[in-house]
């Protein structure tokens, strides 16, 4: 009998916990073809795959809008909650309080964050809750067909010809001022930078706020828009070249100490920031705010990691919670014994 040679199956590429990248995918997107948000979802998939995060540990939270639909399009087996317009921060806060072992990924839009949700956004930032907060920022309300949002730049033009005459809210400057401890801006089309920034955010313990310019191909990708692919490509100016080395990769990177800043994250991962602009120091709040202000004056879209602080306590640390998630504490830990009730009753006599 002739022997049949079965070619050895190509071993599927898996990450350190044995999952394939496909295991991190979500449902098929229902957003417009070419939407910047889809590119962000892809980067999230890659980042969580490369970092070897177990999907069951991830809670995906969002508000309302095109951006907020996207958590359905990545990490299918994780837990998701599409909440209320502008109020995802509070739902995320409650979720993390209930189970601080979860990795919370909040996805919001510019309308969801900077207009209806600005109140909850600022309080989330000042609490430094452990969360990865991504703004998919296109400067318009897509789901209600293209009205300006509060991140639209002055002078930016809608398809209908309407010109925005109010200044944009810079969510990065706001987040830095308020106490967020990892603040970056990127562009949905910049695969390498966005991936490294998301991976850094996963390793960060505290609020990681990423404002990702994500052109709306349907309502805000025309001439006159400052959030279009062509505008951002022409005006983007990265402050550094970002690389991320996970804690489980023992890679030695050759770099010139004079031009690169290395930041060690809580889990031992390293963020390598190769300076592209002067002597940028991402641990200096004032410097970060100066760069952002200058960028506005120069009509530049500055991208990169503006600010990072790995020392400040997170909200969870401040609350001094028991190690086990509050959600699953047994009755013996949450219902005091009868002696306690007796003692209280006695004090009320």
């Amino acid at each position: 009998m002739a022997t049949t040679t079965v070619p050895p199956a190509t071993p599927k590429k898996v990450n350190r916990i044995g999952l394939e990248q496909a295991d991190y995918k979500g449902n098929k997107t229902t957003l417009c073809a070419g939407c910047g948000h889809n590119a962000i979802s892809e980067r999230i998939i890659e980042a969580f795959y490369e970092m070897g995060v177990e999907p069951y540990r991830v809670a995906k939270l969002s508000g309302i809008g095109c951006s907020s639909k996207s958590p359905a399009y990545f990490l299918r087996t994780s837990y998701g909650f599409n909440a209320v317009h502008g109020r995802m921060p509070s739902v995320a806060t409650g979720t993390v309080l209930a189970n601080h072992k979860l990795i919370a990924v909040g996805v919001s839009g510019d309308g969801d964050t900077a207009s209806i949700g600005v109140g909850q956004f600022v309080h989330l930032m000042r609490r430094n809750l452990p969360i990865i907060y991504i703004i998919e920022d296109n400067g318009v309300y897509g789901l209600t067909k293209g009205q300006f949002s509060a991140t639209a730049d002055v002078g930016s033009k809608l398809k209908t010809g309407v010109i925005n005459d109010l200044p944009a809210i810079d969510t990065c400057a706001l987040a830095i001022l308020l106490g967020a401890t990892y603040v970056a801006r990127s562009f949905s089309g910049d695969k390498r930078q966005l991936l490294a920034l998301i991976e850094g955010a996963v390793a960060h313990h505290g609020t990681a706020m990423l404002d990702v310019i994500s052109p709306c191909v349907t309502f805000n990708d025309h001439e006159g828009s400052t959030k279009s692919y062509s505008y951002v490509k022409d005006h983007e100016s990265p402050i550094e070249d970002v690389s991320f080395v996970p804690f489980f990769d023992d890679i030695t990177v050759d770099y010139d100490p004079g031009t690169t800043t290395e930041i060690t994250m809580h889990d031992g991962s390293r963020l390598l920031l190769k300076k592209l602009k002067s002597d940028y120091d991402p641990t200096n709040k004032g410097e970060a705010l100066r760069v952002l202000t200058e960028a506005h004056d120069n009509e530049e879209v500055v991208t990169g990691l503006f600010y990072v602080d790995t020392k400040r306590e997170s909200f969870i640390d401040q609350l001094n919670l028991v190690d086990e998630p509050l959600a699953t504490l047994p009755e013996s830990k949450v219902r005091p014994p009868k002696a306690v009730l007796d003692e209280v009753m006695e004090s009320l006599r």
């Binding site: 409650g94 072992k101 109140g119 309080h123 949450v334 009730l341």
Partner: protein
């Protein structure tokens, strides 16, 4: 002890010269921020310590200092602890309101007042007890800055002497009030004694009100409803508390913080088994509850009407996404500018149907301190069993006033966490469908985020989902889901507290009430019997959705008076949604909505006016203001 006294006075001696023992109301009129609350609580606690059933009601303005405030204390050997609007002894300390306060009294009432106030010019049919407060306070309180606060302790001594309050009990009550501040307690007690001595030497007793020791308070406690609810929440095993300050709910969370810090720190690790967060607003407070409830915590917030309005959107999401959470609504009068510090059962209708779309929510109606405690515990169990937001409907009168109570029963039944599947359950079942009615009760299984199983995760969203929690806008899928939620509502009927029914044995009139209106109704039942020989049945509603026993009660009676503290007959409105037309026709309404706690006299008069007709019922017109029940209840 003397039981008869020679009455000296400018009015005719009452027909019955005997003393009226352990049945009276005292009102103290002061200025907010003058320390009078401490004085009033000392008097209240001293009477409580004498074993006489007592209740206190603080009527205060939305202000920290300077506006008028009143405190009424009612002692009743019959055990009536509802508000009594007729005042027997007034302590008039506020020049701004003295005329109004004195003019409101019934003839024959007594007034203790600052001698500088010329009270006699307003009335000549009262008993007058002028007191030189400033002269008395100066020697006991050399520090002029403290005199304003200590001055109010003088009237405690005067009243104690006039009414025969035991000074030993006064001192114990005072020291309890000041806790470890011994110097302050000494100073204040000196002022009490100065008042007592002055009254002893200079004020001949003219009135006929008298307190004598009883033993009806054996083992009882005194507590505010907000503290009782906070204790309930702690023993319910609450783990996440998110709140935004609003009168009259703030003290619920503040008391809870104190208790939790003391009793819910893990003894081994010294770490907290809870998270309490003061949110940026009520929107965030309820959002955090929804997030925490979704992720498996026992989560709660406490608020009042304006907060409930702000929470409306999230409550709708909680209903449709089926997320447990407990909301304590300490009801008060309407918007923030107006009467925010006055009581009302004002959020019944809006809370029952809060939010948009087809939404309705279980409501619990505690009427007492014990129920604030036990219903807090029940609310958490119901919320998790039904996977929905549940409201505990207190009010300002219940939440912020001191009430007597039996000690609370320790919860013997284990915590019920509802249908939560673990990874092991999922292995056994091979998976699950979040919104599938597996048991016919309308409640699906859920998993908690963080459950380590590939089939555990699901995506939560509002109304547009199928049984597997997959996005769908199909008409039949939506209808099927809504019909399941209707089945869940039917399940709720059996889970919320059953009504408490007191049969009259007759089919004439019935009374339906809930919450603090109960304390007026128990007294009204006696007044109806005594004054008009009317035996009325009584159904105290304790939960919404209404149990069939409520419907049967209405069916059994010819006319049913729904007693409540709002203008629009809100609970009656909810009943109308459920009842058949012939039963709706039986409903009558008794409504009390002046911002003060409801009282029995007004309730009885309203019922009698509707029963007998005419303007003033015989009993009220004949001046039978004083309760002289045949039977001793307490």
């Amino acid at each position: 002890m003397a039981t008869t006294q020679v009455l000296i006075g400018e009015v005719e001696a009452p027909a019955e010269p005997q003393l009226i023992v352990n049945d009276m109301s005292i009102q103290v009129a002061t200025v907010n921020g003058s320390g009078s609350q401490t004085s009033n609580l000392v008097l209240l606690r001293a009477i409580f310590r004498m074993g006489i059933p007592v209740s206190g009601k603080n009527l205060f303005p939305s202000n920290i200092a300077g506006l008028p405030t009143w405190f009424t204390i009612r002692a009743s050997k019959y055990g009536y602890i509802g508000r009594r609007k007729e005042i027997d002894l007034l302590v008039a300390m506020n020049p701004e309101t003295v005329e109004e306060d004195v003019r409101a009294l019934d003839p024959g009432a007594a007034v203790v007042y600052d001698e500088r106030l010329d009270v006699k010019k307003y009335r000549d049919d009262l008993l007058f007890y002028p007191v030189p407060f400033d002269k008395l306070v100066a020697p006991v309180c050399p520090d002029a800055k403290l005199r304003k606060l200590v001055r109010n302790m003088i009237y405690v001594g005067v009243v104690a002497k006039l009414l025969n309050v035991d000074m030993g009990d006064v001192e114990k009550a005072l020291r309890k009030q000041f806790k470890k501040k011994v110097k302050a307690a000494d100073l204040n007690f000196a002022a009490v004694k100065a008042g007592w001595e002055y009254a002893n030497k200079n004020i001949p007793k003219q009135d006929h009100f008298w307190l004598e020791r009883m033993n009806l308070n054996e083992g009882k406690i005194m507590i505010e409803g907000n503290a009782a609810a906070a204790l309930g929440a702690m023993f319910a095993g609450v783990t996440v508390v998110t709140w935004y300050p609003i009168t009259p709910s703030s003290s619920l969370c503040e008391t809870l913080i104190e208790y939790m810090k003391r009793y819910r720190i893990d003894p081994e690790t010294k770490k907290a088994t809870f998270a309490i967060v003061q949110a940026e607003d009520e929107l965030a407070a309820i959002g955090m509850v929804v997030g925490a409830g979704w992720a498996g915590a026992r989560a709660m917030t406490a608020t009042a009407g304006p907060g409930i309005s702000l929470m409306a959107e999230f409550i709708g999401l909680g209903y449709y996404a089926e997320v447990p959470g407990v909301i304590f609504d300490i009801q008060r009068v309407g918007p923030s500018t107006g009467l925010p510090t006055r009581t009302m059962q004002g959020d019944i209708l809006s809370t029952a149907l809060l939010s948009h779309g087809d939404t309705k929510h279980p409501l619990l109606f505690p009427c007492s301190m014990s129920e604030c405690f036990t219903m807090a515990i029940e609310a958490f169990d119901i919320a998790e069993e039904l996977q929905t937001p549940v409201f505990v409907m207190c009010d300002l009168d219940l939440g912020m006033n001191m009430w007597m109570s039996d000690p609370f029963p320790y919860p013997e039944k284990p915590i019920r966490r509802g249908k939560v599947l673990t990874a092991e359950d999922l292995d056994r079942l091979g998976g699950f469908q979040r919104y599938k009615d597996v048991d016919g009760d309308g409640v699906g299984n859920r998993t908690l985020p963080g459950t380590r199983h590939p089939a555990a995760g699901y995506f939560t969203r509002g109304s547009g989902h199928d049984e597997r929690a997959i996005y769908s806008e199909k008409p039949d899928v939506y209808v099927k889901n809504m019909d399941r939620l209707t089945r869940k509502w039917e399940t709720a009927v059996g889970l919320v507290p059953r009504p408490e029914i007191q049969e009259s044995g007759k089919d004439g009139i019935g009374i339906v009430a809930y919450g603090t209106s109960h304390w007026a109704v128990v007294e009204t039942l006696d007044q109806l019997r005594r004054e008009q020989n009317i035996e009325a049945g009584y159904c105290r509603v304790r939960g919404y959705p209404f149990n069939h026993e409520v419907v049967d009660f209405i069916r059994r009676h010819q006319r049913v008076y729904v007693v409540e503290q709002n203008r629009d007959a809100q609970l009656l409105g909810l009943l109308r949604l459920d009842l058949e037309p012939e039963l709706i026709g039986k409903l009558r309404s008794v409504r009390h909505y002046d911002g003060l706690p409801i009282d029995a006299r007004s309730t009885t008069d309203s019922i009698l006016t509707q029963e007998i007709g005419g303007t003033a019922p015989a009993a009220a017109a004949s001046g039978m203001n004083r309760n002289t029940p045949q039977e001793v209840q307490a």
